[in-house]
């Protein structure tokens, strides 16, 4: 189970409106027909954070250890796809490991 705040890209002080907005944006970006697994994760995250009571309950009772992807997302979220530098590409083209 992933950290719902990270799935929705929210800070831990997000309020109901922020959760709602983040959820709507997330499902717009990732509708179920595009990636059902990701959509399901978004939906689950929304259910976990929907109300102030839900968020407090998550904070008190969730004991899921952090997943590697959570730690990575928290440290440096995935940005826009980039292009490797020429030197990096050339390393690969030379067959270097």
């Amino acid at each position: 189970m992933r950290d719902p705040y990270l799935v929705l890209g929210l800070s831990t002080d997000a309020d109901d409106d922020a959760v709602e907005r983040a959820y709507l944006e997330a499902i717009k970006r990732c509708p179920p027909e595009r990636d059902a697994t990701r959509f399901s994760a978004i939906r689950t995250a929304y259910e976990q954070l929907r109300t102030r009571r839900d968020r407090a309950a998550f904070d008190l009772f969730d004991t899921t250890p952090p997943a590697a992807i959570d730690i990575l997302d928290k440290i440096a979220p995935v940005g826009a796809p980039a292009r490797p530098e020429r030197s990096l590409l050339q390393t690969l083209l030379r067959g270097e490991p």
């Binding site: 952090p66 440290i75 490797p84």
Partner: protein, 831 residues
């Protein structure tokens, strides 16, 4: 001889001592299994014995495999030595692409270039030449463009190098137009073809990943551009798959893929740190890693996740991990929380209540110093959690009424939680229904009033109010609430059904009290709410039946006209009986007053309709009176056309009859099924269960064996549901169940003979013998008649397990059916 050498030699088992045909076989096996070293040893030995072209070729294959293996491991020089061994086998052997690739990779470009330059007459196969060119082309793009000078002017590597390099520069600079223009200059049959495909895929990657993947899939694994292709494919994986796949990728491929995915360098660095901890990192190592990155991750997040990691470990040392990793030791509240989390999996309600109460108590003390609404909410949640975790007050729990029982304490905590967080509707409703189930309507009403003040038009609260009104027999109030609910939700069939049922129940109550007038009124109310045709018809019938109670001759005559006749359907008689039961009118009275004959199913359709009606009665939770059940049992066992039902209908009928415990009828139906579909295990099961409704009593072992045979057939047919049901129906200490061991050893018992079972008629032993056995006991009788000790021992065992009466019955049954040799047959009959 070194150990290593000894081991190597051992694998082929001292090949010089092995006969050639056996060694040939082993060599081929090793080659097929990709045990390259063994294959090399074996084929070398074979080649020494005889110079055969096919063995040489296979040795070359083994060398190629081994060289590839070494290349994978990064042992490039060793791999090159193996390739050279391969090349030395036969000067005519074409250069392998892997060999060429390795030459390029080891910077022995001259050798590769020389191969191409010297191949002016085209001695190299075309495919091989193209592969070498692609390898060199990749190196040129990788920065080794000086070699271009050493190639002939007309070599395609040289001719197409300029647009390929321009495309590379354009891609890295983000100039897509320049890339496209340059790629347009690279022809299809160019050493840079794969490069062009990969660049096109990379341009498509952000917007059309599927198309990009399709382009990448066209490139061979042994292409000179394969590392870049692999990196591009890696970059297209979903994030969770990427994390796994990246672990096995080569570092340069991983770095390129990460950049293509948009991974910042910090992410790559932490991923590498996480990867170093292994697939399932120890919690403590993760806590330390989190603390190392605390400035970026945030102190609160690190703290909270560290506590989760501590909770995931049961060792007592885990409580010290925070401090050992550079954090502060858990405070009192955190310690209480850790203890409570670990209790969550415990089934002890007292422990749950106590641990979570401790956590709430900590926050309550803080509340006195800091009146924070968030704190109040947390206290409420902590007070509710034990109940939620242990489902202490959910259905079917009822109040014990004892002040020191855990359900009372849990309810108190829940009520207390409402003072901290009075806006949680779910808690009100949970408590209301808990109290309702225990008929503590005063408590339920108290909470309902609080809920109604907050949510006067809420459906859940209105339904709870209606349920309480129905519990209190306040039908008028319930009807008013039902109207309000149906105003909001007109298709709420559940509310409508509950209200109709409540009026019907009340009508029955009034009728049994002799208040027919009030019963009619209730029925009229029920009719006004009912929308279902079947219910409406039954209410009409119930109203008509009240004329019998009232002694209304006209009403009785009308009913008689409706039901008296030669050919009244059994389904209609069942409907009449259900209506009589619903108002508490004895069916005998109805039959007498209406002068009805004994019912029976008149044909197949009537039987099917009766079964359907009976099934829906069970689905509607209608209680059939004993008189109705007796009427049905008699009707359904009197020349009932079971054999005219289809297999599905008959199976459904058996299930329905089972639910109503109409065992005789079910046995008949099952027997009809067994006759028509002889090997269907489900009918064997129904017959067995119907014949032994109180459990198997060892009346007939044939039945037991028949059921066991049915179990075997069900398993063989893959009818697992039926097989499970049969297993459950088999007696615990029967031959299969084996209480305390295997089957009861009955000598000379026949094998299981499922298909030979006829009806249950026992052909008894001579009555005199039966009398003697019953009088003196079967064991003594066997001793007197000199029965074999083996049989006497078995009988004693059976008696010990089943009791003397059941054992006697069982043995008489066995002897009586003639399938077991009669031990008394040849014995002198006592005077």
């Amino acid at each position: 001889m070194t150990k290593k050498h000894k081991r190597r030699k051992g694998r082929v088992g001292g090949s010089h001592e092995i006969a050639t045909p056996i060694l040939t076989e082993r060599a081929q096996e090793a080659l097929d299994a990709q045990r390259w070293r063994d294959a090399i040893t074996a084929y070398k030995e074979l080649s020494k014995r005889e110079d055969r072209a096919d063995w040489r070729l296979r040795l070359a294959d083994a060398y190629a495999g081994r060289a590839g293996e070494l290349t994978e491991k990064g042992m490039l020089k060793e791999a090159l030595a193996i390739w050279e061994n391969r090349a030395a086998l036969d000067p005519q052997l074409p250069l392998a692409p892997g060999h060429a690739a390795l030459l390029v990779r080891l910077d022995r470009l001259d050798a590769a270039v020389a191969l191409l330059a010297e191949d002016g007459d085209g001695a190299l196969p075309r495919e091989q030449r193209e592969q070498i060119r692609a390898q060199l082309a990749a190196r040129i793009l990788g920065g080794d463009d000086a070699m271009l000078e050493r190639l002939p002017d007309d070599d395609p590597i040289r001719r197409h190098a300029a647009p390929a390099l321009t495309a590379l520069a354009g891609y890295c600079d983000g100039d897509d137009e320049a890339v496209r223009a340059a790629l347009a200059e690279i022809p299809f049959r160019s050493p840079y073809r794969d490069w062009a495909q990969i660049l096109k895929a990379l341009l498509l990657q952000p917007t059309a990943p599927a198309e990009a993947k399709a382009l990448l899939d066209r490139i061979d694994d042994d292409s000179g551009f394969a590392p870049l292709r692999r990196a591009a494919i890696l970059s297209l994986l979903p994030e969770h798959e990427f994390l796994g796949a990246a672990a096995t990728a080569k570092p340069a491929e991983r770095r390129v893929a990460a950049v293509l995915r948009g991974w910042p360098s910090e992410r790559i660095a932490v991923w590498q740190a996480l990867h170093a901890l292994g697939d399932d990192p120890p919690p403590k190592a993760l806590i330390c890693l989190l603390h190392q990155h605390q400035p970026v991750l945030g102190a609160d997040w690190v703290r909270r996740k560290s506590l989760s990691l501590i909770a995931s470990d049961r060792s007592p040392e885990s409580i010290h991990w925070l401090r050992e990793c550079g954090g502060k030791a858990p405070n009192h509240f955190e310690q209480a929380l850790l203890t409570a989390w670990r209790t969550d999996t415990n089934r002890d309600p007292w422990l749950l209540l106590e641990r979570w109460r401790d956590c709430a108590a900590f926050l309550e003390r803080q509340w006195h110093q800091r009146k924070d609404p968030d704190l109040a909410l947390r206290i409420a949640l902590l007070l509710r959690h034990a109940d939620a975790q242990g489902n202490m007050l959910g259905p079917p729990a009822q109040p014990s009424g004892h002040p020191e029982e855990f359900d009372t304490i849990a309810a108190e905590y829940l009520e207390a939680s409402l003072s901290w967080d009075p806006d949680d509707q779910a808690t009100y409703l949970r408590l209301i229904h808990f109290y309702r189930r225990g008929r503590q309507l005063k408590n339920a009403r108290r909470l309902l009033e609080q809920a109604q003040e907050r949510w006067p038009r809420d459906m859940g609260v209105l339904e709870a109010a209606m349920d309480i009104a129905l519990d209190a027999r306040s039908f008028k109030k319930a009807a008013g609430l039902a109207r309000r609910i149906l105003d909001i939700d007109p298709i709420n069939s559940g509310v409508r059904r509950r209200l109709v049922n409540a009026h019907l129940a009340h009508a029955r109550k009034q009728q049994t009290k002799g208040r027919g007038d009030l019963a009619r009124k209730e029925l009229a109310e029920a009719a006004s709410w009912a929308r279902d045709t079947t219910i409406s018809k039954r209410i009409a019938l119930m109203t008509a039946l009240l004329s019998i109670v009232d002694g209304d001759p006209d009403g009785v005559r009308a009913l008689r006209d409706q039901f008296q006749g030669q050919d009244i359907a059994l389904a209609d008689r069942l409907e009449l009986a259900l209506a009589a039961d619903a108002i508490g009118l004895w069916l005998g009275t109805v039959d007498n007053q209406l002068k009805l004959k004994k019912p029976k199913a008149r044909d197949r359709d009537d039987l099917a309709a009766t079964m359907t009606r009976l099934r829906s009665a069970r689905d509607d939770d209608l209680n059939l009176s004993d008189a109705t059940l007796r009427m049905l049992e008699a009707a359904l066992t009197s020349r009932t056309p079971w054999d005219q039902l289809s297999r599905v209908e008959l199976e459904a009928a058996c299930e329905t009859l089972a639910r109503h415990e109409l065992d005789r009828a079910r046995q008949q139906a099952a027997n009809a099924g067994r006759k028509r579909w002889r090997n269907e295990p489900i009918f064997e099961l129904h017959r067995f269960e119907a014949k032994y409704p109180d459990g198997f009593d060892y009346r007939s072992m044939k039945d037991l064996w028949g059921l066991e045979a049915a179990l075997d057939r069900a398993r063989a047919n893959g009818e697992m549901r039926t097989a499970i049901r049969i297993e459950e129906a088999l007696p615990a200490f029967g031959p299969r169940g084996g209480l305390g061991g295997g089957p009861i050893p009955v000598p000379s018992l026949p094998p299981i003979f499922a298909d030979d079972f006829a009806e249950d008629d026992d052909e008894g032993l001579p009555p005199d013998i039966v009398d003697i056995i019953r009088t003196i006991g079967i064991k003594r009788a066997l001793e007197i008649f000199g029965a074999p000790p083996e049989l006497i021992r078995s009988v004693k065992e059976i008696e010990r397990m089943m009791g003397p009466d059941a054992a006697t019955d069982m043995l008489l049954d066995l002897l009586g059916d003639g399938s077991t040799p009669n031990p008394f047959e040849d014995l002198p009959f006592p005077p």
